[in-house]
Structure formats: C-alpha cells, structure tokens
Amino acid sequence: MNDNMALGLLAEIMNWKSDDGATATREYGWLRLMSAVKYDGYSDFRAGARFLESLATWLKQFEPTDREAAYDFVKSRLVYISLPELLRLIEAFVPEFVTPAIREVAAKEIGVKPYEIWRTVHGTAAFKRNLRKTLFVGMSDGSRIDILRRANAGRISQEQVLPMMNIDGAKWEDLADDLRKDEGQDAKFERIFLIDDFTASGTTFIRNVEGKWKGKLARFNKLIKDARKELKDKFPIVEGYDLYIHHYISSYQARLNLLKRLDEAFQNWDDKSFGTVTLSESLLLPESLKLNAKSDATMLALCDTYYDHALFERLERHCKEAGQVDMKLGYADCALPIVLDHNTPNNSISLLWAETGGENGAHAMRPLFFRRDRHG
C-alpha cells in the first residue's frame, strides 16, 4: 500500500516514538481519513504522489524542532474547501441570494410586501418576469458557471448566464433577442449579478492605484459602456441597472475592503453604469481566520524563518500594487490559512503554496498544496 510507506516516512520525520505507538496510531487514523475525505482531491496531486507524500516533503523542510508546530497548523488551523463543499456554496447561490432579491424587486413593482409575492398568480408572474430580466455573469473560471447552470436548470434560462466577461457585440444581440422573445419588445436586463469564487483582499475586484481605478469591476464597467456605445438601442441592459456582486467565499477583510471601495467608487465614478450596488457572499470567513500574533506566534515565526525572497521578486510586479514588501504572509499580507481544491490562493501564507529553488543560500521553499501561479 502506498499509504504505508508514506505513513512510515511521516513517523520518522515527526519522530513519533515507536515503542508504544500511541501517537502514530492516532495520527495515522486522522491522516488517512482526512486525505480520503479532503486533501487527496487537490487538483495538483496525482496518483502516487498525493497528500501524505506532499506532507512528508513539506515537513522535511523544517528543522526537527519546528515540525511539531507546522504539523499542528495543518491539523488545527488549515481551512480546506473541498469540491463537495464548494458545490454547496454554488448551489446555495440562487435560492439564498437571488430569490429573495427578486422577491423584493417584484413585490415593489406590483405594490405588495415581499413575502406576499406568491399570494396571487399576478405576483408569481411578476417574480418570473423579474427573474428573467436578470443577467448572471461569471468573472473567472472559478465562478463555475457550468455547475451553476446545471444546478438551476429549469429555473434560469441558458440565455441569462454568461461564462466570462469578454462578450462581443454578436453575443449581446443574441441575448437581447432571446430576452425580447420571452418578455416582449421593450424588455431589457434590469439587474446583473457578477459572480466570482474567492476574494481575500478585494483588490482583484476593485482597487485604486495612484488615482486610477483598476480591477474586474472597472473592466466590466468599461465593457458595458463600450457595448452600449456600440449597440445603442439594441443594447439589452437598462441605464443605472442594479448591480449585485457575489463571491462564493470571501474573507472578512475582503468584505470590509470591498464595501469601502464600492462606496468610494459609487461616489466618485462619474461614468458608472450601475445604479445601485449590493455585496453578498455564500461563505463569509470569520475575522479570526487570519493568522495573528496572539494565537499564531509560532507559525508566523516559521513563515518568517523559512522564506525565500526570490518568491517576492518573481511576483513583484503584481504585489507592489498591494503595497507589500515581502511575500511571507501571502498577497496583500492577508495571512490566510486557506486552500481551495482547485488551487491555493496566493493570499494564503506562502509556506503553504510556494516552491522556490533556494538560490543564493536562501531556503528552498516546499509547498504543501502547490499553487499554479497565473502571474509567473
């Protein structure tokens, strides 16, 4: 069994005493279970080199006296969102966030309370109408629009869900035609849900760099404006539409940052295409998740010691905007202990995901959950 060798190796690396075997026995049980339930599913792992092997390699980079703290971090601090868990978050999106929002809007339209929307056929029709006039746009692969579509088959039309931001004029026209077929000649989309999987700092979505607004929202806003200019009346989105921003997973800090910046943008963008903006998330990570000096001093010390600055240099261009000087605590110094099954966010402490060559005497960082880096 592959497992046995890796487990034996771990016992050696962690110095679990062989004489009574209590520690090893207990840990083997936990390791096998968690590998099977969660960690072996990590997209970067391959058969024969999965979590246990990765853990062994990762632990070996630490001095023997530091391994206990590192192992403990994995056991008690790591937050790993597996694919089944992510699926739940995606499946919760429409029933928990979209439906109540549409109820509100539809109720207002026909002049009843939101909870009365289904009292009459009239209300139900208003609900359906408003649902149809909603556009769902995925901001990245992580939005898993394919899963979102499947989970809501029959409830949401294919023609209201867009898998990416780069939509050309022809696509806009198609959307417009379909909408008019369903809801009449004058029909336009009245609200847009922008969906993304994960935000830890909020900066990818929206940030202000030396007076210039950047990020996905700015790009989307421009996209709308350009398309409207091009298509004029044929453009199927109303002026001042309601914008809803939804992440499946958001850190506490990201939510705060996003609220602040969205507010600023709302005040200061003269050319904003949206009329209102609402922020929501399927899973809001608690404030206490971030590694902090009080509870995580030991682990933070490890982040400090076992660090290769070459990592920062490699990603410098991207990081500098966030105003940080090293990569020990991850992008924007978020210091999160989080791993997603398809990739580890760079906002997590770099010890979790970084791999470096260890040149010029630096420590060669070994990842536990290797991150496929988009930026380099």
């Binding site: 069994m1 487990l7 016992a11 004489d19 009574d20 075997g21 209590a22 026995t25 083997y28 099977a36």
Partner: protein
C-alpha cells in the same frame, strides 16, 4: 482500511458470508447444548436472560433459517463445519438436515408504543400478539424463500389437527394465502400503532381486530430437502423484550404460554441486578405469579455463574479474535492468524537500575522491620519452593524480591499481634505460619506495577477477563491493540506487542472508554468509580497485602442495599445507572464471612485503567452511609 474489530457486529449481518466469518458458535454450545432440558427448548416458552454483550443477538441471528441453510449447504468450509456442529448439538439440525425454522423479531420501541394507546390492556395485548404472529409468519416464509432457494409454493404449512376455523383465520392452507393474510394483519396493526391520531376502539381496522392465531394453528412447516420432504419446527425469537412495559410483558408472556401453541417461543431479555424487577424478586419462581419455571416455561441464564473461572468467555474471546484477525489485511497478509500470539506473554523485566533499586528497598524494609537474616533466609526459601512448583513463568527475580517484601511485612504484622514471651528469642515464630502462594505473588506484582511501572495486564486472558463477559467490550479493547499492531506493521516492525506496549494501549483505550461514558449520571458515576478505585488501590498497596492480589470491589450489607434501592436517593440512581451501563458489576446476596453482601465490582476496563487486579474476591467493606457521602461530595 477500517479495523474490523471496531465494526459493529450488526454491520456484518448484511453480508452473510462476512457474518459467518465472525460469528462464534460458543454461546450456543455454552448455554444451550448442555442445558438439562435441551429437548424442551422448542416446545415450551423459553426466557433467555443475558447481560449486555453476551452475544444473545448474534446467536439469535445465527440460528435464523436463512443462515442455517447457508451453513448446511456449504460444509467445505471449516468455519461452517464448526457452526454446523453447534447447530447439531443444540437440536437445530439433525446431522445435515434442518430441523427448525427460526426467525428473530427485535422488540423495538414500536411495540412498547402500543401500551400507550387508549385501549384496554386485553385489546392492546391482542394487537401486539397479532403483530408478532404476523411478522413471525412473514419472517419464516421470507427465510425459507431467501436466496431463491425455493419458491413459495414449495413450502407446505401443516396445521394442528384440531385447528378447524383457525385455518381460515390465518388465510387458508397455502403459503401464499397465509403470507397475504399475515401482511394484511401486519399493515393493519402497524397503522394503528404508528398513527399520530389513534383510532377509537370501535374504529380499529377489521384486519387488526379479527381473531388471528398462527402460533396455535401452525404445527409444522414442510419443505423439500435433497429430494426428500422434511418437517421443520417453527421457532420465533423475540429479542430485547425488556423494552416492553412490565405489565405488557407479563400479559404477552402469559399469552405465549398457552398450551395449544406448538411452535417454539424464545424471549430474550436483559436483567439488571439492581433494577426494581430483580431487586424485589427473590427467586425466579416468582417472575410470573401462577406460572412455574420448568413446568410452564424454561429459564436460561446466559451468563456464567460466579463460581466458574470465566473460562467459557475466554474461549469465546479467543475464537472471536482469531476470526476477526483474519479480516485485518496488514496482519493476515503476514500470516498472523492467532491473536494470542501477537500479544507477548513474556514476563516483563525491570531494568538493571530498577532491579537494584528494588533490592535496596527490600533491604531497607528488612532493616526497618528488624527482620533477622535467618528469618529472611527462611522467607526466601519459602519463595523459592513456591517458584519451583509454580505454573506461571512470571516469577523472576523482581517478583521474588517483592514476594519476600510482602512476607516480611506479614511476619511483622503477625508477630506484633502476639504477646511477647519472656523466653522467646528476638526472632519469634508467628502462630500462623507464613506461606508463599499465588496471593503473595499477585500482591508482589501489584507492588511492582505501581512502584516501578511494571506492566500488570497483558495477554489475551487478561483482556478477556476484563471484558465482563461482554463480547463487544472485548472487541473494542482488542481492536485498540490491533491498531497498534498495524502501526508497527506499517513501520516494518514485528507487529507483536510487548507487555508494556499492551498495558499502555489498554490504559489509553480504557481511559477513552471511561471518558466517553454518556448516560444518565455519567459524570457522577465516573467520579464515584474512580474514587472507589482509589480506595481499592490504597488497600491493594498495603505492604502486607491482606487481600492478596488486592481489592477491585466494595460491598455493603445486602439488606441495606435493598433499602437504598427502594429509596429515591441520588446514590440509588447513580448505582443503578452504573450497573446498567457496565461501569460496575453488581452481585446480590454475595456470601462471605457468614454475612450476605451486595458486591459492587469495578468493571474490567476500570481495573485495567487503574491497574487493579482482575482477580475476583478482594473487596472493601463499606456502609451505605459511606457511599452516600462519596456521591454527595461529587
């Protein structure tokens, strides 16, 4: 990947061959095969009283017809042959031919629920009787047609000669008709019991009200076996009848003692020694006033008598653990098939450093007690001749030295009680001569355990003895050891565990078990039990070892216990639950020293965890008031 020792036995039931691999025939041979009234087992109602974990459910599942047939049909397998042998001995089969068609009906809470219906007791009893009979019929037919072994029309129901109108009441003469009627009755009665709104008595569905007596009507069931017709005696086994209301059970039992019934009727239950039922029942003759044991019904107790030396259970434990071991790939692959052999019984030895410490301690004690060198030499001679004649291998230098220590202290105590004679030398003879025996050896080992951390409990027998005759408890403790063995195998070490590795694993596991107790008053029970263990330990470590191996129980006068149990005092609750959930073992009317005691033994896992002796007999005398103070202080 999972540890089969820790799987619930019922999990194996789903898969016949898996179940047959682990079920042991021991309970059948132990309790039924040798019963003096073995022949009446299928004629009279039988009450089987077992302790939790005694294997009664496994046994009942084993004898169900479906499995019985599986065993008979495949005799190539030595495992099945052993099971077949037990079935012959108990009368379930006649050599290779089945004799009994049995079905097990667990008396779950839904049966008790009928007692809550707003009807007359007679009506409620009739409903439950109909339900049981219907389900028994369905069960027999299901068992006979299981695995496509025969079709329903190949089963012939033979009625009692004087059955008459009853035949129509049970649906007719063919198995298909009888099954149809049974299902109707089952549904009708079930719907009365399960509904949130019970019907008025006059609205009870006809199928549930109509007379229905298959237990009286059916005499035998005939099938074809290897081309010849064979008549089978039907048997219904009602499991866990103690969940019924006592009045309900009484009425049901009486209904089942009707002489017209030809089918076998077994009722399995557990009886807690401190429960009201047993406390106020002086002997089993009074269990059902008007009915007499042996004349109207049989009583079988599925627990070994205290007099026996737990040999029976040890056999079961050995058999079970070997069977389970074969299901552990990492060990079976390395050809380990005897669990006992993976538990090293080699006597643990102290390190040279500790041995030297021991020698010096004994020397110090000798000086303190003013024991002369001659006296010491005499004592050592006693010990040596004991060692020579002893069967145990665990009598090396460390044990011998500790024995000498015990005997020196005993010497001291004995002569101190004697009036000194003017003519005696400084080395008087004790009136009662000193003896080096197994008690002294046990006392020596306890001393070494607590003073030098020498393992006390190791080997299969110790684990079996610590299980309180509870198969599941045994498997859990053995399972913990198996986990350690697997860990060693992973690291390419010899999986066998040394005594100290066994002791460490057992202390950890039993600690977990005790910490995990979750039942009413669990917290108080835990504290109480640990307190008692502390007192027992103190006594066990007396240097002169008055109780030999030491104490692992306390006892109060039996009459006082009766009083206590009748009261509402918190201590009564604590003890009742402690006994019901296996934290203590209570023995009523225990005779010792001319008095009758109620003995409260600490459960095996507690003794393992606290490193007290597993040998029976050593107890501390207490009064009820003492125990009350202990509980109140918690």
């Amino acid at each position: 990947m999972s540890n089969p020792f820790l799987r619930r036995a019922t999990e194996y039931i789903r898969d016949d061959s898996a179940f047959l691999a682990i079920v042991s025939p021991e309970p059948l041979t132990a309790f039924l095969a040798r019963h003096k009234k073995k022949d009446a087992l299928f004629d009279m109602p039988v009450r089987l009283i077992g302790t939790p974990g005694s294997g009664k459910t496994m046994m009942a599942t084993l004898v169900e017809y479906r499995l019985l047939e599986t065993i008979l049909r495949d005799q190539s397998n030595p495992n099945n042959r052993a099971l077949a042998e037990a079935l012959v001995q108990t009368g379930f089969t006649n050599g290779d031919i089945p004799r009994v068609v049995a079905v097990r009906l667990p008396m779950e809470s839904e049966y008790r629920d009928y007692w809550e219906l707003p009807f007359d007791p007679a009506v409620k009893t009739k409903l439950v009787m109909s339900l049981i009979q219907a389900r028994a019929v369905i069960g027999w037919l299901r068992n006979l047609t299981a695995n496509n072994r025969r079709a329903l029309d190949e089963v012939r129901i033979i009625a009692r000669d004087a059955a008459g109108a009853q035949i129509e009441q049970i649906g007719g003469m063919t198995a298909a008709d009888i099954l149809k009627r049974a299902r109707e009755v089952d549904r009708a009665v079930y719907s009365v019991g399960a509904s949130l709104l019970p019907p008025k008595p006059e609205q009870i569905p006809a199928a549930a009200q109509a007379p229905y007596q298959p237990f009286e009507t059916i005499r035998e069931i005939e099938i074809e076996w290897n081309g010849k017709p064979v008549k089978l005696q039907p048997l219904v086994i009602l499991d866990d009848v103690h969940t019924l209301h006592p009045e309900q059970l009484d009425l049901l039992f009486r209904a089942l003692t009707r002489r017209e019934m030809r089918i076998g009727r077994w009722l399995m239950m557990r009886l807690d020694a401190l429960s009201p039922a047993s406390v106020f029942q002086s002997d089993q003759q009074d269990a059902f006033p008007g009915l007499k044991a042996d004349r109207d019904y049989l009583d079988i107790s599925m627990q070994s008598q205290r007099g026996s030396d737990r040999k029976q259970f040890r056999r079961l434990a050995a058999d079970m653990s070997d069977r389970y071991l074969r299901l552990v790939p990492s060990l079976a692959n390395r050809r380990h098939t005897h669990f006992a052999r993976l538990l090293s019984g080699e006597p643990p030895s102290l390190t040279e450093g500790k041995l030297e410490e021991l020698r010096q301690q004994v020397a110090k004690d000798q000086r303190r007690l003013k024991v002369t060198p001659e006296r010491r030499a005499a004592i050592e001679e006693l010990v040596r001749s004991y060692v020579k004649g002893s069967h145990s291998t665990d009598v090396n230098e460390d044990v011998q030295l500790a024995m000498v220590r015990v005997l020196m202290y005993r010497y001291d105590v004995r002569v101190a009680a004697q009036t000194p004679s003017l003519f005696e030398a400084e080395d008087p003879e004790p009136k009662t001569p000193l003896k080096a025996d197994v008690d002294v050896a046990d006392a020596a080992r306890i001393y070494l355990t607590h003073r030098f951390d020498r393992p006390l409990h190791f080997g299969l027998d110790d684990i079996a003895n610590a299980s309180n005759e509870n198969a599941e408890q045994f498997l859990h403790m053995a399972g913990a050891l198996v986990d350690r063995m697997e860990t060693r195998a992973i690291r390419n070490l010899d999986p066998a565990l040394s005594p100290s590795q066994q002791q460490a694993a057992l202390i950890d596991k039993t600690g977990e078990m005790i910490a995990g107790w979750s039942f009413p008053f669990a917290r108080k029970v835990r504290e109480f039990v640990l307190h008692v263990a502390g007192e027992c330990l103190e006594e066990s470590l007396q240097p002169n070892a008055p109780l030999g191996a030491g104490a692992n129980a306390i006892a109060v006068p039996d009459a006082h216990m009766v009083e206590l149990l009748a009261s509402e005092h918190e201590l009564a609750q604590v003890l009742k639950y402690a006994q019901a959930y296996g934290a203590i073992v209570a023995v009523r009317k225990y005779g010792q020293g001319g008095k009758e005691w109620c003995l409260l033994e600490l459960a095996g896992p507690v003794c393992l965890n606290q490193r007290l002796t597993l040998k029976r007999g050593g107890f501390l005398e207490r009064r009820v008031e003492d125990l009350i103070s202990v509980v109140e202080a918690i």
